[in-house]
Amino acid sequence: MAKGEYLGEFEHFVLLTILRLGDGAYGAMIRAEIERVTGRSPVIGAVHATLERLERKGLVSSWTGEPTAARGGKAKRHFKIEADGLSALKNARKALERLHAGVSLRNATV
């Protein structure tokens, strides 16, 4: 994998969240899920900027939904993970597992 193909931490979060939520995840839903699961509270702008970057890399794809009254008559942009996105997640997980192998955090001291 070239340097630019590695996932950043927040890209990793967003991709995993889309996978958790299934096809049709959208900005507000992704933001709320990241907040609920990790306790980290990202801003909506960061979520959209990351989604745009992931789409440009071909890791996710998007389509436009119908406008709803609950959104002030505005449409949603839905996202789904692509095959490249799934393999990027697998590679990231393998890399983390290799790094963690043989390291015991329980006995670690600083």
């Binding site: 959208y26 507000a28 801003v43 702008g45 960061a46 505005k74």
Partner: protein
């Protein structure tokens, strides 16, 4: 109930045109949820925090497939327009140095200047004019504010001067927005 109008205008100014509907829709949806759970005051505070903290992220990307060269071109145009804008103000300042003009005239001159240059910038960049005008105006204001604050932490600049300076941002955005609205109207007539 709807989110604060000024914050919504800020979202419209900084979001790429193609993404505005989705970003503002997402914010609106969460705003309503928080309002029902915690009340309008908490929801308004949440909305403002989201918008202000999102500005760097929203300004940093664009969905259109424009080359890096075009982005550099837009940045150069913005800088030239800003230099022209500062130049006009300096010329007026020099002309009226001997006989100081009243502050309200000074406000009109500066903000009209910003309005016109906002429209010129929107004409030059063609797409995302308000967004580019916002970035350019913010850059200009920070160019003045940063040295003033860094040089003197207890800066005693009069309040009117700060209002005059920060007012350049909405004035340039309004200029760019007006140009875009007029162009849309002309295009729809044709």
């Amino acid at each position: 109930m709807s989110p604060p109008a000024l914050a919504q205008a800020l979202v419209a100014a900084v979001t790429p045109t193609n993404d505005y509907e989705f970003v503002s829709g997402d914010l609106h949806e969460e705003y309503l949820r928080i309002m029902y759970l915690s009340g309008a005051k908490v929801a308004n505070r949440w909305y403002w925090a989201q918008v202000l903290l999102s500005i760097p992220s929203l300004l940093s990307y664009s969905r259109s497939n424009k080359s890096a060269l075009r982005h550099i071109g837009v940045a150069l145009i913005a800088l030239i327009v800003l230099a022209a804008m500062v130049g006009v103000v300096l010329v007026i300042d020099t002309v009226f140095q001997a006989d100081p003009i009243p502050s309200w005239v000074w406000f009109c001159v500066n903000w009209t200047d910003a309005l016109i240059f906002g429209a010129i910038l929107a004409r030059l960049v063609r797409t995302d004019g308000v967004r580019v005008a916002f970035s350019a105006a913010l850059f200009l204001v920070l160019c003045f504010v940063t040295p003033a604050v860094a040089g003197n932490p207890h800066s005693q600049a009069p309040l009117l001067a700060w209002i005059l300076l920060w007012g350049v941002i909405p004035a340039m955005c309004i200029g760019a927005g007006l140009y875009q609205a007029i162009r849309c109207r002309i295009d729809s007539v044709n």
